[in-house]
Symmetry: C2
Subunit: 290 residues, 2 copies
């Protein structure tokens, strides 16, 4: 039976959570980890991983799904830690109380840790029968969240007196998009390097779309506080270029992303999907030309 | 040139730190990560990993060293997070300011995250040419720090209204000792399951030795606050069994650990080493019979 990409992702995530918490997991930790991951957010990154693998033929879907779940766990871990009082001090996330708000600060720290570990445990579990792909996958994911150019670096730039803007944004947002496209390629046995540019430009486009949401959406629409960029003095493309300029910038990035898709049998479908996804994550009343 | 185990461990740790922070690492994060890992603590866990690998012939020392460094990073990550204000709120560690005390709370959180990731990045880097061993190593390490029975579980039990004592201690201390012995076996191509009991009993013995240090040492001796078990209402074998009873308990655990060493060509040396190490970590004025 063929499952939709969305169903595959949720199944992989729930299987990983269940397997990891089946025996001897402290009850509050288990609740808090589930709270951080379910119900589903937009799952943009794992969807991208599946889309790339699909475009490349996806010969080993269980490996794709394991990588996709791992990527989502790493993303959720960063959200939980970013929400902590010592960073954004955010009370809500995905329309619910943030983890530390619901379960206390110790759980906020531990759920992030648990999800980072779970990501790697999920790779180990789903790829044990295919060590070659595991060996190619592990550096892709670990670099994407690491201290040089990964998510941890991105968050750490916020503590520096000054930060190079492109390094900050590519670490904070781009790295996990790049990991998602590369992971899809690795799973399909394609060269991951060829997929880096596509992931990087999509990450930038997503960042601009997120800037639109921060400016034009309400907290109820997106389930987290808005106007955070202004409050925290962070760069925002809409404030920088204006609404029209930011739309042009976004469309240019999407165009560059699409142009960077390597030759593969599903390239045309993938282009379509990208355009559709970008429209989906923009605030409803903003129309794109492409 | 043969290096001593200690030199091998420090070389592996410094190589991993340097490689991971060479390009694009935010400067304060880099300083704080180094602060958390250097200068060397006792390196008990990586030494154990090398000792087991050595007893089994150690045919691939660079894999042993990579695993040993990864284990120490995971250990350091847990120290940094445990020291945070929302847990132990410890101002000192290894005779220096704790990470959050020296660099602020955001760095305390991020350094722990960075070190968890670095552990897995180190496995990926040092074992890329040996995917089969990587595939066997990854679950050993990820389970040891995971949400069921690993370090994260151990710390999370402290947030539960009540915790099963043996589950708490085996997760908080035992799990990484078990990972250390199993990792040594995996590196040497031996069955890791046979080395679990040895690691588990050593972990328990180490916990009791740590209880002695908490009661009988000074903060200057051990570079961190003492009498924490009493202050925080945590179990302590010395307070529970008395000094004499706790010494007997410790000796029994060491005996059981030694009895559990699987057949291997270096078994006798390994026994010697265990007895020596246990004496080394006990407060100076407490003598063991064995």
């Amino acid at each position: 039976m063929d499952m939709s990409p969305k169903a595959r992702i949720e199944f992989a995530i729930e299987t990983a959570l269940e397997t990891a918490s089946r025996e001897g997991c402290p009850p509050m930790l288990k609740d808090a980890v589930y709270h951080a991951v379910l119900p589903a957010g937009s799952r943009v990154r794992p969807s991208l991983c599946l889309a790339v693998a699909h475009a490349c033929g996806d010969p080993t879907p269980h490996i794709t799904d394991g990588a996709a779940a791992a990527i989502e766990f790493l993303h959720c871990a960063s959200l939980v830690h970013d929400d902590l009082p010592c960073f954004d001090d955010a009370d809500t996330r995905r329309g619910k109380p943030s983890v530390h708000n619901a379960y206390g600060e110790p759980m906020g720290v531990l759920v992030g840790d648990a999800l980072i570990v779970l990501a790697f445990e999920t790779l180990a579990r789903t790829m044990s029968a295919n060590p070659e792909k595991l060996a190619a996958m592990l550096p892709v994911l670990s670099r994407a969240v690491g201290m040089s150019g990964g998510l941890v670096a991105g968050q750490a730039w916020e503590s520096e007196p000054s930060a190079p803007l492109s390094a900050y944004q590519s670490a904070k947002t781009g790295a996990l998009f790049v990991a998602a496209t590369k992971a899809g390629a690795v799973s399909a046995g394609h060269d991951p390097a060829g997929w880096e540019e596509f992931g990087a430009r999509l990450g930038e486009a997503y960042q601009v779309a997120d800037d639109f949401r921060d400016v034009f959406s309400t907290a109820a629409d997106i389930g987290k506080p808005v106007h955070q960029d202004q409050t925290r003095g962070r760069p925002n493309a809409v404030r920088q270029f204006g609404r029209g300029g930011a739309i042009q910038h976004l469309e240019a990035l999407v165009g560059r992303a699409i142009a960077a898709i390597p030759e593969c049998r599903g390239a045309a479908d993938l282009q379509q999907l990208v355009r559709m996804q970008v429209r989906k994550i923009m605030p409803k009343d903003i129309e794109l030309a492409a």
